[in-house]
Symmetry: C2
């Protein structure tokens, strides 16, 4: 009942030629006569021959698979990135092996090892929030395995390409916009500080205040750990009980911002009149919540494509055994400030 999987040897036997000939015929090698090529092709089609990638991988020392390590899939931004990765990888003839680090360093290490064991041709990684040590990545680089980090990049790791988002500028634009709108007591909910992304957003917030001669108030800065809606809700509640209440909240993520909005609305505060709220990431929910949430759009899909293109370029360079070492890149993608009702007091063009 169970059909056997056809091998080169099967085809060879059937045609009375050697497996070597079949192999070459199937890739249209000019050494093989046209007639033979045709015969082989026809039989292969007829029997639905599919090359065994595992055997190819072993022989060629190249699996045509790239490994992807993502902190968390159920996340609009990351799933967009994955989508970009898959699109580029697919058209370049690569398969994708996916791992989810769950924001845990230990899991991330295991994933790196598993991918290495699977002999992927390269790794795309966005670091877990917990990750503050890069030995696992160093080791892979020592083996010559190409690595590209994106979004939560690994600046400490030498000799690798990175694709980042200009989070500093994105966050700076938010604060500038709030100031232009007349808000002065601007609070910030930042994320876990290992990732460079949260660091940059926090730094931009502080710099923008300073650049506009606003004093920094440490009571207006809170850090969340899980980056959830609840945390936004809790922090906003705290601020409401405090005097003076902030007149704007800039949260590290839309979800957190929306948590804050819920608390503010419950307390009877008017957004954006009494207090503004701004998020980050432009999740689908941001445009749909009421009032629509001002946020910073990040080009996730493009980021995935770009990171993958860099990785595959490096892989190809490596396999071409050129003399010159591969030149690594650091790409920075621009964000887009999406001004919506939640932060607009003055009449302004709403996008």
């Amino acid at each position: 009942m169970k059909a056997k999987q056809i091998t080169l040897a099967d085809l060879a036997k059937e045609l009375g030629v050697s497996p070597a000939t079949v192999s070459r015929a199937l890739k249209n090698h000019p050494d093989i006569s046209i007639q033979t090529r045709k015969k082989v092709q026809e039989l292969a089609d007829k029997l639905h021959y599919r090359p065994n990638s595992i055997a190819q991988g072993l022989r060629k020392q190249e699996s045509k698979v790239i490994g992807v390590i993502i902190p968390e899939i159920v996340h609009h931004f990351f799933s967009s990135v994955i989508s970009g990765i898959m699109e580029y990888a697919y058209q370049a003839g690569y398969r994708v092996m996916l791992c989810q680090s769950m924001e845990s360093l230990a899991k991330e290490k295991e994933d790196v090892e598993a991918l290495f064991s699977s002999r992927v041709d390269g790794i795309l990684i966005s670091l877990a929030n917990e990750t503050n040590n890069y030995a696992h990545l160093e080791e892979m680089r020592n083996y010559g395995l190409p690595i590209v980090s994106f979004d939560k990049v690994c600046q400490k790791l030498e000799n690798h390409s990175m694709v980042m988002i200009d989070d500093y500028e994105g966050a700076y634009n938010v604060v500038t916009h709030l100031i232009e709108q007349g808000y002065r007591r601007i609070a910030h909910i930042h994320g876990p500080l290992n990732p460079i992304t949260s660091q940059n957003r926090l730094k931009a917030y502080l710099d923008a205040l300073k650049d506009h001669d606003l004093s920094q108030n440490d009571d207006y800065i809170m850090g969340c750990k899980q980056v959830t809606q609840e945390e936004g809700y809790i922090f906003a509640k705290k601020w409401i009980q405090q005097q003076p209440i902030p007149d704007a909240i800039f949260a590290v993520t839309d979800l957190v911002a929306i948590g804050a909005m819920v608390a503010l609305k419950e307390a009877g505060l008017k957004i954006p009149d009494d207090i503004a709220v701004v998020g980050y990431s432009d999740w689908a929910m941001a445009s749909v919540v009421e009032p629509a949430l001002t946020t910073v759009a990040q080009p996730g899909f493009e980021m995935g494509k770009l990171a993958t293109s860099l990785l595959i370029d490096e892989i190809k360079h490596l396999h071409s055994d050129q003399e010159i070492p591969y030149q690594h890149h650091t790409e920075v993608l621009k964000t887009q400030l999406k001004i919506r009702k939640s932060s607009v007091r003055k009449p302004i063009l709403v996008s």
Copy 2:
């Protein structure tokens, strides 16, 4: 500079034993003396030996990789399913190769072939909207490759396990709830009709109307193709211009429902007083939109875990070369009606 990847033979040479001994020592085979086992283990640890999964796969005819084909990753429900898949697969020692069919039958076929070529041990698939022909899956089953379909399952394919969601009941509950709330002119926006899921939701809608002695009005039934917010917006616009306007809209998906809400609000209609709106899937946005959207929660994460457990059971059964053929399962998961403000006229317990 580039470190060589360590092989069994390297260890064997270094220790002056054969590769066979090293292989057995590493898996604690009792044939090997304790001292030898220890020596081998120590050297392996010291040199960071990692078995080459590709070579193992070739030799053992088992890759420890499962293939997953999903129509679209950037989708709250599907990313939840993937998350469940990855969690179960990880703890069972399997890697995941991911493909995105983009709702295209052609791409789905390519993906199936690519996964077969990669010699995955099994395939998890949710069909593309376009898919109305199952030859590509039949072929894989003929090769004895285990397949489990989930959500948009493939009822035409024999001898395979399925995990579905009770969409019929979920949709029936929606319509019943609307009727209980006093709505009578209930419209429905259904999805593409190839997937069994949309079919079931439509059928439940029709049956529920009939069971409650409401007449079916074909003007109140529209089908969307892309399942986008725009489509919901456009359909709602059309209904607004029509007399009598429906007093409830049940959309195949939250996104479509929200599109409809936007159109209704623009037209000055009050939700839920003038008209109710209900979605499906319980995206994050549903609880956040105003008024909060009544919807049907689907257990995506559980579905992923369950489907993966069935697949891996079947794989294990196959490799245990038992006499009795594997007994396939069809599992049906229950939905949960999330009653929110968008559909509640009468006082009711809001979840």
